[in-house]
């Protein structure tokens, strides 16, 4: 399969970016999207310059390999973060970019590739963004305050299976940022809610539930993420199908915290 790629290029956080066009050929339909990106980069390293660009007279074309975040390539680490043809993680459901396969595209198609779009995630280079904000939100309260050692036996507190399962549903969040990148308000509410709800459903996490919700929401606001207006776009694009019902649980915890104030 052959493709035309329109890719966002940006030298660093301070410089201005722009789209550049590249061609790739003979891509196997069974290759993953990131393997296709590897092939493009291999081409850029080997050629040094893009012959198509030279023939068209664009000498100032950026022919450095394209920077993009990737690691586990099996859909679990959450580092890959491409906005492909206007969709976070591209044209397939319930996946991260690394699990997108070229068989989902048409031969000869033009594919537009951009970094995550959100004020909270500044671009570092090309398609790589800084998601340090997500770490900071979790540092504000996304934990249970226990030290190592001195904890009770694991089976001393039974947990209703349904609750443990629902907690696991929320805990499946990989912290990729697709929710915030998709939201028209730029809200990170689904990400925050997944953590708050996962812990609030378990007796071990419930203890600090209200305090946690308040602290994490405050941090999210402080870091420049927008507010939630229940458009549900986040839920649609979440690779781990995390439901917005967790946002409802976050709101409940948050309200409880405010009532106590």
């Amino acid at each position: 399969m052959d493709f035309t790629l329109k890719i966002w290029r940006q030298k660093n956080a301070k410089s201005k970016g722009r789209f550049e066009t590249y061609q790739v050929k003979n891509i196997s339909p069974d290759s993953s999207f990131l393997e296709m990106m590897d092939i493009l980069n291999e081409q850029l390293v080997n050629e040094g310059v893009d012959p198509v660009a030279v023939s068209k007279g664009c000498k100032d074309k950026n022919t450095d390999p394209v920077a993009f975040d990737h690691d586990c390539r099996e859909g679990i680490c959450g580092i890959c973060s491409l906005y492909i043809n206007g969709r976070a993680h591209g044209p397939d459901d319930d996946i991260t970019t690394c699990q997108l396969y070229m068989r989902k595209f048409k031969d000869g198609e033009t594919i537009t590739i951009e970094p995550w779009r959100n004020r909270g995630f500044p671009v570092l280079k090309d398609l790589v963004v800084d998601r340090g904000a997500y770490d900071k939100i979790l540092q504000a309260g996304g934990f249970v305050s226990v030290n190592t050692g001195g904890v009770p036996d694991a089976n001393s507190i039974p947990v209703q299976k349904e609750k443990a399962d629902e907690s696991m549903d929320a805990a499946a969040c990989v912290g990729c940022g697709a929710c915030a990148a998709t939201c028209k308000n730029g809200s990170a509410m689904l990400f925050v809610a997944a953590r708050v709800s996962s812990l609030a459903l378990l007796p071990q996490g419930k203890v600090e539930g209200a305090r946690r919700a308040k602290a994490m929401v405050a941090k999210m606001d402080e870091l420049g993420f927008g507010s939630c207006t229940n458009t549900r776009a986040c839920e649609l694009e979440c690779p781990k199908q995390i439901s917005i019902s967790h946002i409802a649980r976050l709101n409940r915890e948050f309200l409880l915290a405010k009532l106590k104030d």
């Binding site: 030298k11 660093n12 196997s28 069974d30 290759s31 590897d38 092939i39 291999e42 390293v45 080997n46 450095d64 390999p65 920077a67 990737h70 690691d71 586990c72 390539r73 099996e74 679990i76 680490c77 959450g78 580092i79 319930d94 699990q99 068989r103 570092l124 280079k125 790589v128 800084d130 998601r131 340090g132 770490d135 979790l138 540092q139 504000a140 996304g142 934990f143 249970v144 226990v146 030290n147 190592t148 050692g149 904890v151 036996d153 694991a154 039974p158 947990v159 299976k161 443990a164 907690s167 696991m168 805990a171 499946a172 990989v174 912290g175 996962s198 812990l199 378990l202 071990q204 996490g205």
Partner: protein, 647 residues
């Protein structure tokens, strides 16, 4: 030889750890505040160690190469974590877990370390539950278990098919709590490029800021390496793309011995290689072997038709299927250890019974389980794995059997450590996959998570205190010390050298070629001639690398090609040491299978008389043969036996 003192305490096996803890020194809270520790890596080992050390009051700096500690590859472990809780009342015990692990490792691990691992396994489960890890539970609200290879009891705790993710998020949350408190400072997108040793003691690291390219110096009273394994030497593996052996390799070059480098684990259930554009292999969890049955056709004609794509696996009738693991190993069946299952798959494929177009795949079939339990139950147990399989292969595994083949998954070898997890360089510690101590020649499933967390939560925080108690008078490390100057200069020179090659080949093309050499000559089956050939080929490739690699861009920017170039340069050297170690070990044990040393049935044949030791390699200089040391293994409490999974 004098350096290889294991410091295993005297006394009965079950008292060793307790009495050792009583005898080692501790540091007072006021002094802990004055001491600095560097932790490199944020997987289960690194994150749990950094968090626990921060809680104790030390000043901790933690480094990771990703954008967040949560990305570390521990996150990809699917199936579970072992512990000797005996919640299932199936007569499990600390001793049984210890014995299974020693036996699974084919009697090449250190007895006292493995017993301690089994001992603290139960604390790990308690700790994780307290942190809010949503383990699988039954309707009574108590924790559920599943079975894993190499064991006849159900002792594996799990969180769906995402156990590693949930345990890592637990450790990462504990780490976040300490970052918020200020006891731990986190350095994401930083890669350690060298260890700094002053007067024989580990005193800091040189790291590259991967965003700006700046080479930075960090000093401390002790350095903890938790950077995982070096299996990406093979290019195609189940490791994440950025996993690398560079941190441990720099430690090796600064005097830390490298133990058992040739012991690599090949996991039997991965999605087969598909084409030459592939960048990595995806694991299908070992937990699938609880309900999946592995087979190839009995008739070679059927295999040929499958290879030609003329028929599908589901069309082959029951009587024409060869469930070769159940046939060869009746007692353990599909749950034999990984090395045994991998070799059996290779044996069938080499005999021509492979089931896909490359002839390098076997079936993992759920038909029997779906008939017995219903699709709903299988979906609840493994739904995400079936979904992942479908996304990658476009095949619905509820209808057609999965196709699997062995792939590189883990390295049992690593930095040599004593009972305190300290390397041969004082003040340098290695934990988790980065050390060698617990898995011998083969690691059992669901034991990597156990070891990472055991080391990080419950062992290192105690043992490092014994060393640091002697450091309380030592002032903060001065990063202007000549040792830092020298290390930084060496790194800068190496980077400049790489840029200046200005050759014609990409880093990836070299990495792929190295991978082919490794898989061919240092893979699942090894022999003397092949290993010698492999070493020769690696040397040739390494020479070409430094004459013909092309690294675009510059140092002082975000440059992923440079990152890869530095790592691959080290893989070229690590690969050679792996081959050398495999060559020296003229016996078969665990995952290390020397074709010359096998039984009549094709099983591994150990040579306990000559090889019951840990090999430990000492660096002597570039392009020089390293020194070979041996730590003899003494089994005082288990009877050393031939592994038998048949009865």
């Amino acid at each position: 030889m004098t350096k290889l003192v294991s410091h295993v305490p005297e006394g009965p096996l079950e008292d060793k750890w307790r009495s050792h803890k009583n005898n080692i020194r501790v540091v007072s809270p006021a002094n802990k505040r004055k001491l600095e520790i560097i932790v490199v890596g944020t997987g289960l080992g690194g994150a749990s160690a950094a968090a626990s050390l921060g809680e104790l009051g030390y000043n901790v700096k933690v480094f990771c190469i990703s954008d967040s500690p949560r990305r570390a590859h521990s996150i990809a472990a699917q199936g579970g974590i072992n512990a000797a809780k005996n919640y299932q009342n199936d007569n499990d015990s600390v001793y049984r877990l210890f014995h299974d692990t020693i036996k699974g490792g084919d009697y090449r691990s250190r007895e006292a370390n493995v017993y301690r691992l089994a001992e603290v396994s139960n604390n790990i489960i308690d700790q994780c539950v307290a942190q809010g890890v949503p383990f699988g539970r039954d309707y009574g609200g108590l924790l559920d278990n599943r079975s894993f290879g190499g064991s006849q009891v159900s002792r594996t705790f799990y969180a769906r098919g995402q156990t590693g993710q949930q345990l890592l998020l637990g450790a990462y949350a504990a780490l976040n709590r300490q970052v918020a408190k200020g006891s731990v400072k986190s350095y994401p997108r930083h890669e350690m490029l060298d260890l700094v040793v002053i007067d024989g003691e580990a005193r800091g690291i040189i790291a590259r800021n991967l965003v700006t390219g700046k080479i930075e110096r960090f000093g401390a009273h002790a350095v903890v390496i938790a950077t995982g394994g070096y299996g990406n030497c093979y290019f195609l593996s189940t490791y994440a793309m950025t996993c690398n052996g560079s941190a441990i390799w720099q430690c090796y070059k600064k005097g830390a011995y490298f133990a058992n480098p040739g012991f690599a684990q090949i996991h039997p259930t991965c999605i087969p290689v598909e084409g030459d554009q592939q960048s990595k292999l995806t694991l299908m969890s070992e937990s699938l072997r609880n309900d999946g049955r592995i087979w190839v056709p009995k008739k070679i004609e059927d295999a040929k038709k499958l290879q030609a794509g003329e028929i599908r696996g589901s069309q082959i009738p029951e009587e024409d299927r060869d469930y070769y693991l159940e046939r060869r190993y009746p007692a353990f069946g599909n749950l034999v250890p990984r090395d045994v299952a991998s070799r059996a798959a290779k044996e069938r494929c080499d005999a021509g019974f492979g089931v896909n177009n490359t002839g390098k795949a076997v079936f993992l079939d759920f038909r029997t389980a779906i008939e017995r339990l219903g699709r709903d139950v299988i979906e609840a147990r493994y739904g995400n794995l079936f979904q992942m399989y479908e996304k990658i292969t476009a095949v619905d595994a509820y209808q057609e059997p999965m196709m699997i083949y062995p792939a590189i998954h883990y390295t049992m070898g690593g930095l040599w450590v004593d009972y305190n997890l300290q390397c041969t360089v004082p003040g340098l510690y290695a934990i988790g996959e980065a050390n060698f101590s617990d898995h011998g020649g083969n690691r059992l499933g669901a034991s990597a998570l156990m070891q990472g967390l055991a080391d990080g939560y419950f062992i290192l925080p105690y043992t490092i205190g014994d060393y640091l108690a002697g450091q309380i008078q030592v002032p903060k490390t001065d990063t202007d010390h000549p040792a830092f100057e020298e290390a930084e200069k060496a790194i800068t020179d190496k980077i400049n050298k790489l840029f200046n090659v200005k050759g014609k080949r990409s880093v990836d093309s070299f990495h792929k070629e190295l991978g082919h050499i490794m898989w061919e000559y240092v893979g699942m089956a090894r022999n003397e001639e092949g290993l010698k050939k492999g070493i020769e080929e690696i040397r040739k490739l390494r020479k070409e690398y430094w004459q013909n690699v092309r690294v675009p861009g510059e140092n002082n920017e975000f440059n992923q090609e440079l990152e890869k170039a530095l790592r691959v340069a080290d893989f070229m050297e690590i690969g050679e040491l792996m081959a050398l170690d495999a060559l020296n070990r003229r016996e078969s044990c665990g995952g290390h299978f020397r074709e010359e040393m096998q039984t009549e049935e094709g099983e591994t044949k150990r040579d306990d008389e000559n090889f019951m030791y840990v090999s430990a390699w000492e660096y002597t200089g570039d392009d020089q043969e390293p020194n070979y040391h041996k730590e003899p293994l003494k089994y005082e409490f288990v009877k050393v036996a031939t592994r038998n999974y048949k009865e």
